[in-house]
Subunit: 344 residues, 4 copies
């Protein structure tokens, strides 16, 4: 038997003793969870706001683990290997899967959403979703999934040489963007963030300037540095209002990337004449298709400072605390991960 | 002396007798105007709503002409050649011009906006804005400028093989899009238009289906044909409301191109969560950088049916009538051009 | 029992009576073969020149079939459905599969190469490789796989508005390119082909000009039509020499696509200074990742004339004849398919 | 009067006393030359191997200068401003200029090639070719032109997140690539160079590994670091042989950029089957369209270490020495610039 934190419905998570899972298919493996990041999306799920997730299920989709048991057909992994798990499980036969855009699959059954995820001691997952990683650093390993999302967004940006970039938000994902962009643009990197301590971290990790967007005139401050505005804005807040307020900072010909997941029902009001006059692009981006192994390689190479971004481990009983802190008490930490063995 | 229709201010155009212009610079030419298309933008200008234009000035930026006199430095043109005029005159030294995006130049002085355009018998224009065209068909020639705008938009679409496309509006520009797209996609081409006669023309020129967007459930009708929605929506109405209502027809992963020029002050309300969930792109496009000669080649080759799109010539005294008809009396014609010699 | 044409080694194909296959995995289906195109690559395989294929195996990778039996886990197909088969079976876990480029997988075990293909009466295939098609036309159905390869190439071209295109070769694949390009470019479409009857077909299917590349000066003839050269050259001959001889027809800034599969050992000699001076691109393209369902939709819609391209059905005993005719007797037909039931 | 080094024909440069030039057009300026980089291309020109250049002319196309006199129409510059000069003067009216690809113009009359360049004390240049730079550092300023060429190449690479990159050559241009790539890829950066001291500099400026390509098995060494090969190879040697030998290091799906200018007559032999099997791209790149101001901004911001790359100033009499050293005595320095006032 093992411990699992089962999401039972709105605001309800129970710690239960359940059997250790076995590979369900010959192409599955089971893994022993080493750590599993807590994501802002988990708070939305807990509220019942995310149709992609359905209770009862074990949440947790940012999984670092150790291979525990191999299904009969699995020959490219070995027991004991440290691995990251790509949680995006798709149908493989709808038109979106067929077009090479599995992230748009309408019949997703993702790990931590529709099938049991990482907030438990062991998990059964398809072997092809498992990516070996050469590091024993848990703080690095739990970042593979969010970093892969960032890299998918990066590819959609089609960045040109010398682009000035502004990142909205310096939470854990915003700071992953900081580090990727620091190694991607040769020009100015500006970040906005309301929490002072996070602005300091943004600058330490590579931002040239960090502003409090609630103080003074944001567009004015930005245009003092880059008079024509920035070439690229990346939203990492998930706040439609933050996006709206940043729009006047965008250069003619620029691209706004809506990376953060906004609450259903929020809107961004796009001035129609300005879309012509300024020839803007607004680009959505979703999940992490085809980017997990690139993220793993980047974490292995040490170019990402995970120590600064990942604050500390929580036990299974602290998941709800962790989710609350993410939203309500930003000074408690940038990002937490669950260690399901903590306190054993 | 020659006749010119001079825009004097809101709603005021006077026909005046003025001297025939000479090349102002050694790199200018003067041309004898053969025809000049009336554009919906001219109605906005006439109202004073377009900051790019300033009275007093001769409007008209879709010019077909004959070379009349060469400036001292011009050696690649000859008197008598039929030419189209690229009206987009830019500063050449701002950061946007320097980046190869002259259409974003902040110091534009375009022909028919800030310097005298085609609603007169002769015009002085920079020689590098003049493109020889091998056709004597006035209806074809006056389409070079709007077609070049369409082609710039086309390049920004980054169309993939097998994309289903929906065009909003079947006015003259919408029908240029019909013809370009008929030769660009191997999949479905859907068009929306409120005027029945124009829907018929859309189908004749290549649309597979033409809907009245005000009747019934547009998204429902579209998704009967393409169950996942269309890959691309191109707005050729310039109505923010038309764009808004078409958004539910867009496939996950799809692109909305805002091509039509909306009135300043109009908005498109973009649902923020759907930008993530559907991974949409919204793309603005502006004017015709680098596309005039491609448009000319396309018109020469006869792949564009201009006879159907361009209704007839008007005299200088009828410009205001033509502008009114465009907006108020769609059955009078799809597009008019001014022949400044009519009635001489 | 059923009949199968088994490739046994260099130049050796035996017709054998073997058991009708059952789904090997719960995610497999078996299909009843309706027709299977003969591909030039099959001649290379037969010679033993293609490492991707290994005897003994049933060749044939352009399969139209009917679903015969469903594996236990297959719920999105039904028995009796007409389907096309995507033959590209990849490992799903190597770095290339992980990056969304399964066509580069180093551990491919494709249908008709490493596992039994379509030159037999029934075949077992993974359900996710099966694409329903709404047509009973065998000549259309057997074109889905080669057309999907064309469409993958198309996406890699990143075609701009108004590009002049030249296709080398008017065999069956070259003529698929003709038809796709006729609906993709608004400018000139030129085709080269040594066989006169095929040049006529190229013109009938949409080429504006068709040249015999062995007669006269090819670059001279091409530059009479497009003085600066063509924007795009697509090789559909698989002859390095044809590619080499066409290079002088390429415009500055143009793209050469090497689509045809050349024999191992052949070379194209690229003039190094000209790569700078002319800023050319040379682009390889491989197989059909993510394009099968788009090809199916295109064939369903009737925009591809398959009647002209696919000559007739052959029986299992005629496979070697068909392969020989493809190479040696072009006047016998453009393309053949095997009907494994012929003569029953 | 002023001093000018006039190229008179093969291997012949004379220092002459000539009148200080005045603006030739109202849109010209004259500049006082502060420094002008010596480029490897100048050695080709001196031999008579570059058709773009024609004697008698003053060479030198990497110009840092001070505005000296303004033409009548120039209002966006002021006397005394420090500026970089974009040497690429194009006709503005050919099909390539019209398409936004002035670097492909067939009637170029570039500064330092067909009109007098920077190896003199003053020069007359078109005002739109002049870019103010906020630095008084001559070593930085003379790098604007070569850096702009690098940035144009960069945009043509369409780099994806996590690409492993190999740069061939660690001369001054190769080391500009090192610095741009260090800020552009989050993955491995490998450089090849025969001169040991330059390999050390490459590593100091950001390369993760630097190899001598003439020692041992290059592909073997590279594939020890990146087993699948590198995603991108950028040639900065201008040696077809170096390109040829590096090709086996390229990953399937990878891109080879031919950036260095090879001698006319050299060839790269491209294996034709591998272009299919490996789905490679080979991309040429030419000059610096639209990138001068981005290069200037990058130099102003200090992200480029010019001190290491630019060795020292030479007088007008030492130009031929400098050219010889570049080729024959790599240990004398990475790059030299001419200060036409040296020794006055």
């Amino acid at each position: 038997m093992m411990k699992a934190a089962v999401w039972k419905g709105v605001a309800k998570i129970d710690i239960e003793l359940v059997p250790i899972p076995r590979p369900r298919q010959p192409s599955d493996v089971t893994v022993r969870v080493l750590g599993c990041g807590i994501c802002v999306a988990d708070t939305y799920i807990l509220r019942g706001a995310v149709p992609l997730a359905k209770p009862p299920v074990v949440l947790g989709h940012e999984i670092l683990a150790e291979v525990h048991e191999l299904g009969a057909d699995v020959d490219h992994l070995r027991v004991g290997q440290t691995v990251c798990v790509d949680p995006m499980v798709t149908c493989g036969s709808c038109s979106f899967c067929n077009h090479g855009t599995p992230n748009l699959c309408g019949r997703m059954r993702s790990i931590g959403f529709r099938q049991d995820g990482g907030f438990q001691q062991f998990a059964a997952v398809p072997a092809r979703h498992v990516h070996p990683i050469r590091t024993s650093d848990r703080k690095a390993g739990v970042l593979a999934q969010p970093l892969a999302c960032v890299l998918h967004g990066y590819d959609r940006l089609e960045l040109q040489a010398g682009s000035d970039v502004m990142i909205l938000g310096a939470g854990s994902t915003g700071l992953l963007w900081t580090q990727v962009m620091k190694r991607s643009t040769q020009a100015k990197l500006i970040q906005t963030e309301t929490v002072a301590s996070r602005r300091n971290i943004a600058v330490r990790l590579g931002a040239d300037h960090a502003f409090d967007p609630t103080r003074g005139n944001l567009a004015g401050s930005v245009r003092e540095i880059v008079p024509d505005g920035v070439d690229v804005i990346i939203d990492a807040t998930g706040s439609a209002r933050a996006v709206q307020e940043a729009l006047p900072c965008l250069k003619k010909g620029g691209t706004l990337m809506m990376f953060g997941i906004c609450s259903p029902g929020e809107n961004v009001i796009v001035p129609a004449y300005e879309m012509f006059e300024n020839e803007w692009k607004i680009v959505g981006t979703k999940m992490l298709p085809h980017k997990m192994s690139t993220a793993v390689a980047m974490l292995e190479s040490g170019v990402i400072d995970s120590e600064t971004i990942v604050s500390r481990a929580l036990g299974l009983h602290e998941i709800k605390d962790g989710l609350e802190w993410l939203i309500e008490e930003p000074d408690r930490g940038l990002k937490f991960y669950v260690d399901p063995w903590l306190g054993e």
